[in-house]
């Protein structure tokens, strides 16, 4: 997970640095390409206007005249100063513009301003053409560099570029670390989300929306789980309640039938019927117990009291009980329990039930008898319990639906064993192999 975040962080930083560098480059180039915008004041640049004026000006008689009046734009003005410093022609000349100029005056104004009017000059044989733009229309500043400056310019550009690049990367990393931390929080939040543990992330920063979505999703999951848990516990309580309500009247039915069965001087047939009632009542009792067990396993999924138990004695005890309970002569148990030290964490009565179910399954599926081999061993941190018979095996659909709870109480044995093993964090696989074979694997306890 952290690797992913690191990857995101690296690619993010690289991307940010790259963008900065590209922007820097573009700015650099555009700055270099920067041109004066003074031609925007009129449709022509000052230089063009002056050249137009120059070509349009002609001398007639004792004075200068402008052939094309539009050569000088409307709100600008133009004057012609002769060699002696006198204005010999003017157009739109404002009042404050002097009519005589010394050399000093000329030197002062040529490149800059004349009475705050930005001016441009053009030297002609017959004098100096001065073009004035309206006040405040143009700003002028002077750029001066030594020749050396121009010589070292490429190196300096490279240095500035490198410096900027470094700064960009540093900023990207700085920013990236922040995002990295945030992403780490978010990914851990997502992990919690997957594990369905409640998530509350701080909703801030650029990933605020993402955090909010995760929080909302977590809240939704919690809500849903709460509803599910409530429904499950309600169902389980209902099953337990119904069981309780059935057991008491059933006890009365059983007791009375038993009393009839033991009454003397009544027909044998009546006794037999009473006996049948007792037997069937006991069957109902077992079904109720199974129902409760299944509902508990299904909804709790947690065995009640787990304890560390050595497998071999546990199995010997169950198998002895099965044999002591009476086993047909046609059934033979072949027992091979290895690894006396192997232990498992189990709810003893539940797991006992599972093993009992599996052995009894072998017996009931082979009415004409079979050899049942029971085998335990430990391998790779797992304890295996293998129960196999040499009988006719079970139908394929039983194997397919082994993890499903059957719709009827009949055939509950295998699914119940499956659920019990699963509730212990183990696995149960069943197959037909020279008979029916079930392999249970449980994590070994140390």
């Amino acid at each position: 997970m952290n690797k992913t975040v690191l990857k995101i962080f690296v690619s993010f930083s690289v991307m940010a640095a790259l963008i900065s560098v590209v922007l820097l480059g573009i700015n650099f180039i555009s700055f270099a390409c920067l041109q004066s915008d003074t031609f925007d004041v009129y449709d022509r640049s000052a230089k063009t206007i002056l050249s137009d004026v120059s070509s349009s000006l002609y001398y007639e008689g004792d004075r200068y005249l402008l052939q094309d009046e539009t050569a000088v734009p409307q709100d600008s003005w133009c004057i012609l100063i002769d060699q002696a410093g006198a204005v010999i022609w003017s157009m739109n000349k404002p009042e404050e513009i002097p009519t005589r100029y010394s050399i000093n005056d000329i030197a002062r104004m040529t490149r800059w301003y004349l009475e705050d009017y930005p001016v441009y000059v053009r030297t002609e044989e017959y004098g100096l053409l001065v073009l004035g733009f309206p006040k405040d229309a143009v700003g002028k500043y002077d750029l001066e560099f030594t020749a050396q400056w121009f010589d070292t310019l490429p190196q300096r550009i490279a240095k500035i570029f490198a410096g900027n690049l470094l700064l960009a990367v540093l900023l990207a990393i700085l920013f990236g670390v922040k995002v990295y931390k945030r992403l780490k929080e978010l990914t851990s939040g997502m992990r919690d989300l997957r594990n369905e543990t409640p998530v509350v992330l701080e909703e801030k920063g650029i990933l605020k929306e993402l955090a909010r979505t995760i929080n909302d999703t977590s809240a939704a999951i919690s809500r849903k789980n709460a509803i599910l848990a409530e429904r499950d516990s309600a169902r389980q309580n209902w099953v337990a309640g119904i069981s309780h309500d059935i057991r008491t009247p059933l006890a009365i039915v059983t007791g009375n039938a038993e009393a009839i069965e033991q009454t003397e001087n009544i027909p044998e047939q009546v006794k037999q019927r009473a006996g049948a009632i007792v037997a069937q009542s006991m069957r109902i009792k077992n079904l109720i117990a199974d129902l409760n067990l299944m509902s508990a396993i299904e909804y709790d999924m947690q065995p009640g009291t787990k304890q560390r138990v050595p497998v071999c004695p546990f199995m010997r005890n169950i198998l002895s009980n099965i044999i002591n309970g009476g086993l047909a002569d046609s059934v033979e148990l072949i027992i091979d329990l290895t690894d006396e030290k192997a232990c498992v964490e189990i709810d003893v009565s539940l797991m006992e039930r599972a093993i009992m179910n599996l052995v009894h399954n072998c017996i009931t599926h082979n009415p004409e008898g079979c050899r049942i081999s029971v085998n335990t061993y430990r391998r790779n941190g797992c304890v295996y319990i293998v129960i196999a018979d040499d009988g006719k095996g079970v139908p394929a659909e039983v194997l397919e639906t082994i993890s499903d709870i059957p719709k009827a109480a009949h055939g509950l044995g295998l699914p119940m064993a499956y659920k019990i093993v699963a509730a212990h964090g183990g696995t149960m696989t069943a197959k037909n192999e020279n008979g029916f074979m079930v392999t249970i694997s449980l994590p070994a306890a140390f």
């Binding site: 057991r247 008491t248 039915v253 007791g255 002895s320 329990l337």
Partner: protein, 235 residues
């Protein structure tokens, strides 16, 4: 048997039919001092005025639960208790037995079984067990009082461990007793690693009680599980 049937039994259940039925079953079994109560209050009143020998308590009662009643009874009586429950949940069972209940039965139960358990509990509690003098195994008579095996004129004494093992096997006669249970009986909880020692003791025991120790007729090995003491009734 008369002494046993004389014992006073308290029966508490809120279900009237079940109460009368159980009472009838116990009466049929020969018990005639049976007190019945439908709730905790009645039960306590009876316990205070009579020396109750055994209590059979329902877990769910109208004015409290059987566990609370059990604790109250315990303050004035040491009588053994059998819980009856319609719940059947493992927790109830564990809770009952943790409190010191002697037995626990889930409804519906067979009256036969209840009577058996009541009788066994009374015998155990009041030391009314019929004394098992000894057992005849083929040509050997084992006396439990002395721990001596009598084979014709010859008398052989059993060692302490051999005696414990034989007693354990005899208590579960004709049933398999796992080697674990035997080791537990002889060496206690930390019995691991005694399996080989157990085999040695069984071999010595066979030498004392079997005609042909290599072909035992009574103390049989059940391969992979444990041992079984075969006792035929007519012997």
């Amino acid at each position: 048997m008369k002494e046993l049937n004389n014992k006073k039994i308290l029966l508490v259940d809120d279900e009237k039919d079940l109460l009368s039925m159980t009472e009838a079953a116990l009466q049929a079994a020969g018990f005639f001092h049976i007190f019945t109560a439908k709730n905790c209050e009645e039960a306590m009143a009876i316990t205070r005025t009579h020396t109750i020998a055994l209590c059979i308590l329902d877990v769910m009662l109208p004015d409290g639960d059987g566990f609370t009643l059990f604790r109250k009874i315990r303050t004035i009586s040491e009588a053994p208790v059998i819980f009856l429950t319609a719940k059947g949940e493992a927790e109830d069972k564990i809770r009952g037995l943790e409190l010191g209940a002697d037995d626990y039965m889930v409804k519906p139960f067979l009256m036969k079984e209840l009577v058996l358990r009541v009788t066994a509990l009374l015998r155990r509690t009041y030391q009314l067990e019929p004394k098992e003098e000894g057992v005849q195994l083929g040509g050997h008579y084992i006396s439990f009082a002395t721990g001596i095996v009598q084979s014709g004129q010859r008398e052989i004494r059993l060692t302490a461990k051999e005696f414990i093992l034989l007693k354990k096997l005899y208590e579960n006669k004709n049933r398999i007793v796992t080697s674990d249970a035997l080791c537990m009986a002889a060496w206690g909880d930390g019995y691991y690693g005694y399996e080989n020692t157990l085999m040695v003791h069984i071999r010595r025991l066979r030498e004392k009680i079997e005609e042909i120790p290599s072909a035992p007729q009574h103390l049989l090995t059940v391969k992979g599980l444990g041992y079984k003491l075969v006792v035929t009734e007519h012997e």
